[in-house]
């Protein structure tokens, strides 16, 4: 069977372009952005409250269940959004496959590590009361 004769245009194009999961990535980045539109102003309020309260006051602020929830939610949305955003930057500028893959994996690890660090810190403060 001769190659090409029975190849549909879709089959010929598949795998050659960047048509992989771009649409899902685009939508996820924006859904996280919508969440951050609400969470970031609240998180800025949290930072203002914590920075002026001193050590005990800051811990008391974070230990409030609603505040602890806000901080963990924000860390989750930020982690997701920053990972997706940095992924685009890496894919745009790093051409070499090895370096690109390494950075993409490090990006995922760093974003998850940030979330876990914040979540653990908030939980520790919450439990200790």
């Amino acid at each position: 069977m001769s190659q090409g004769q029975f190849l549909t245009p879709t089959k010929a194009a598949r795998g050659l372009g960047s048509a992989k999961s771009g649409t899902a990535h685009h939508i996820r980045l924006r859904v996280a952005a919508l969440a951050l539109l609400i969470l970031v102003p609240l998180a800025l309020y949290a930072i203002i409250s914590i920075s002026s309260a001193g050590y005990d006051g800051a811990r008391a602020w974070v230990a409030q269940p609603l505040h602890a929830t806000l901080l963990i939610l924000t860390a989750g949305a930020v982690s997701y959004h920053m990972r997706l955003g940095m992924q685009v930057i890496i894919e745009d500028y790093i051409a070499k496959t090895g370096m690109r893959t390494t950075l993409l994996i490090l990006n995922t690890f760093a974003a998850i590590a940030m979330f876990v660090a914040v979540a653990m810190a908030v939980v520790q403060i919450w439990i200790a009361g």
Partner: protein, 132 residues
């Protein structure tokens, strides 16, 4: 199994020197630069919360870094980045959702306004946090 080689021959995104200066182009690249800066800034905020969980000494050390002059400069730049990315992010959502604000005149005007809002917002945030 030609995946890796093919990936390497794909075109890259145009770099800065490709673009002729315009305020919309500047706002676009600023959105990316502030996004990347916030990526790293987030780890500083996370470290601050982790210090609060560890001990009074760790928290005092972090507070000492933040309230030093270099710390305050970084904090102010972080605040500008947050505000710019937030306001320009709203514009991105308006572009993608209702699909308005694309005309050259509106896009240019809004770009300039966002720069002012970012700086004003950052100054307000620093005052509110008692960092000035």
């Amino acid at each position: 199994m030609s995946g890796p080689q093919r990936a390497a021959t794909r075109p890259l995104s145009p770099h800065l020197q490709i673009w002729r200066y315009h305020v919309t182009m500047l706002a676009s690249i600023t959105h990316r630069i502030t996004g990347a800066a916030l990526y790293f800034g987030t780890f500083l905020i996370a470290a601050w919360l982790v210090a609060l969980a560890i001990s009074p000494d760790a928290f005092a050390a972090m507070q000492g870094i933040i309230t030093s002059i270099p710390g305050k400069i970084i904090l102010f730049l972080w605040a500008v980045a947050v505000m710019f990315h937030l306001f320009n992010g709203i514009r991105h959502l308006v572009w993608d959702g209702p699909g308005i604000g694309f005309s050259p005149k509106v896009a240019s005007t809004v770009s300039t306004i966002i720069y002012f809002l970012a700086i004003l917002g950052a100054v307000a945030l620093m005052f509110a946090a008692g960092a000035f």
